[in-house]
């Protein structure tokens, strides 16, 4: 009997009026002769009464219906949920924009900048190399003394550039006159301008000495023209033909 009472929660169901009439009568018969069950019944009766009282006093937390119908809850919970949803949508949109649009742009800009940087570094390296070469002493400097000619059939001035030479020195005997400064114009055989030097002055030998970088002077034929710059007007004084060779 006691096992059945325990298993079927007879005492609590009796207290809560949940037993069928026959069950109720049977249990009453039992507890009238069972001190143990009657003691449990009294305690359970008080426990249930106390819990119900505590529930009505709000000591067991808010009821489900109160929570569900609470305007306060709705007042802050719904805006919170809506705000969270909006924030999530905005975040997703921003993240998508950054990921699909902004990131490729930035990556492209970064690649472009890196390419520019590499180009600048390369140019700087070349310049540094040139500066270094300028600052270094150079032996066996090739030199050619230009002889003027207007005869296209005449042999040109020739010079053979030794290996490792970086400059070519032109020595030009300037015709006597009142010219104070000169311009030297170097053109390739196809009339492409190669070099132009202004404000050249006679040296103590009465000649013009000009150093040209050989980088711009590949093997081939060149036309060199000498102009008087001052006094004006600019006037062609002489024309030279130069053939550069490599060993």
């Amino acid at each position: 009997m006691h096992q059945q009472i325990e298993d079927e929660e007879i005492i609590e169901r009796y207290v809560r009026n949940q037993l069928a009439p026959e069950e109720r009568k049977a249990f009453e018969e039992h507890y009238f002769t069972c001190e143990e069950c009657f003691a449990k019944l009294e305690v359970t009766e008080r426990f249930v009464a106390g819990v119900r009282d505590a529930g009505s006093r709000g000591l067991l937390g808010r009821s489900a219906s109160e929570v569900a119908s609470s305007p306060g809850w709705r007042a802050w919970m719904l805006p919170m949920v809506a705000a969270s949803a909006c924030a999530a949508v905005v975040f997703a949109a921003v993240t998508g924009w950054v990921f699909f649009f902004r990131m490729p742009e930035l990556r492209q800009q970064l690649n472009q900048t890196a390419a520019n940087l590499r180009a600048e570094q390369a140019a700087r390296a070349i310049l540094e190399q040139q500066i270094a070469s300028i600052n270094q002493a150079e032996a066996n400097l090739p030199l050619v003394m230009l002889q003027a000619t207007r005869d296209l059939q005449a042999a040109p001035n020739e010079v053979t550039i030794p290996y490792g030479a970086k400059h070519l020195v032109l020595w030009i005997d300037v015709p006597a006159g009142n010219s104070r400064s000169f311009r030297l114009q170097v053109d390739a055989a196809d009339n492409r301008p190669v070099e132009s030097l202004d404000n050249l002055q006679r040296n103590t030998y009465g000649a013009l000495a000009v150093s040209l970088p050989l980088e711009a002077l590949q093997p081939g034929d060149y036309r060199i023209r000498l102009f008087r710059q001052e006094p004006l007007p600019v006037t062609l004084l002489a024309e030279y033909r130069l053939r550069i060779r490599r060993p």
Partner: protein, 200 residues
């Protein structure tokens, strides 16, 4: 054995032992009062039922009208039910003959009859030791009276756990209440069992 004790008790009453009737009353008064209070829902009616029940039981024992002394408990229960039945008949007759404006106020739910300050204190001390989820479980079960599977779903535990939580809470309540009851027993005996102030 309760039956053997009851047989001996009946024999003692019938032989005129002075303390036997008191022993009978002490053994069954609380049960009669509990059932009477539970059914009648009014303490003064319960006291009347208890007094009338023991009067009839003792008369039956003294007059040797008790068929089976071993079934004394069942005989007292049956007598209590008869007295309660008569009470309800009188109430119905009274309510039929009384104008509506003079009718008695509705009786409170029976669980309120077993609530007093000690029960409240014991419950509060029990609740303090419970987790929020366990408090919610008690509220859903005893206050909102939801079915077990719904409680388990809402609280987020297995249905078997519902019973376990209830049992633990009840056990703790019993311990706390017993301590409080011992400390305040002299002034509360009458409200709980109604057995000390009543004469047959």
């Amino acid at each position: 054995m309760p039956a053997a004790a009851d047989v001996e008790l009946v024999a003692s009453i019938q032989s005129g032992h002075s303390g036997a009737e008191t022993a009978l009353y002490e053994k069954y008064a609380a049960k009669v009062y509990y059932l009477a209070l539970r059914e009648s829902r009014l303490p003064h009616d319960a006291e009347d039922v208890r007094a009338e029940t023991f009067l009839r039981v003792l008369q039956a024992i003294r007059g040797n009208h008790l068929r089976s002394p071993a079934s004394l408990g069942s005989f007292i229960l049956g007598t209590t039910r008869n007295v309660l039945h008569e009470l309800f008949l009188r109430r119905r007759q009274a309510s039929n003959s009384t104008q509506p404006e003079n009718a008695e106020a509705p009786t409170p739910p029976h669980e309120e009859l077993f609530l007093d300050s000690e029960v409240q204190r014991a419950i509060e001390r029990t609740i303090v030791r419970l987790k929020p989820r366990e408090r919610a479980l008690l509220r859903l079960h005893y206050y909102e009276e939801l079915p077990t599977h719904e409680i388990a779903r809402r609280v987020g535990i297995a249905p078997e756990r519902v019973r376990l939580v209830k049992s633990r809470a009840l056990k703790h309540f019993r311990e706390v209440y017993k301590r409080l009851d011992k400390a305040t027993a002299p002034k509360n005996l009458d409200t709980k069992r109604g057995s000390e102030n009543t004469s047959i």
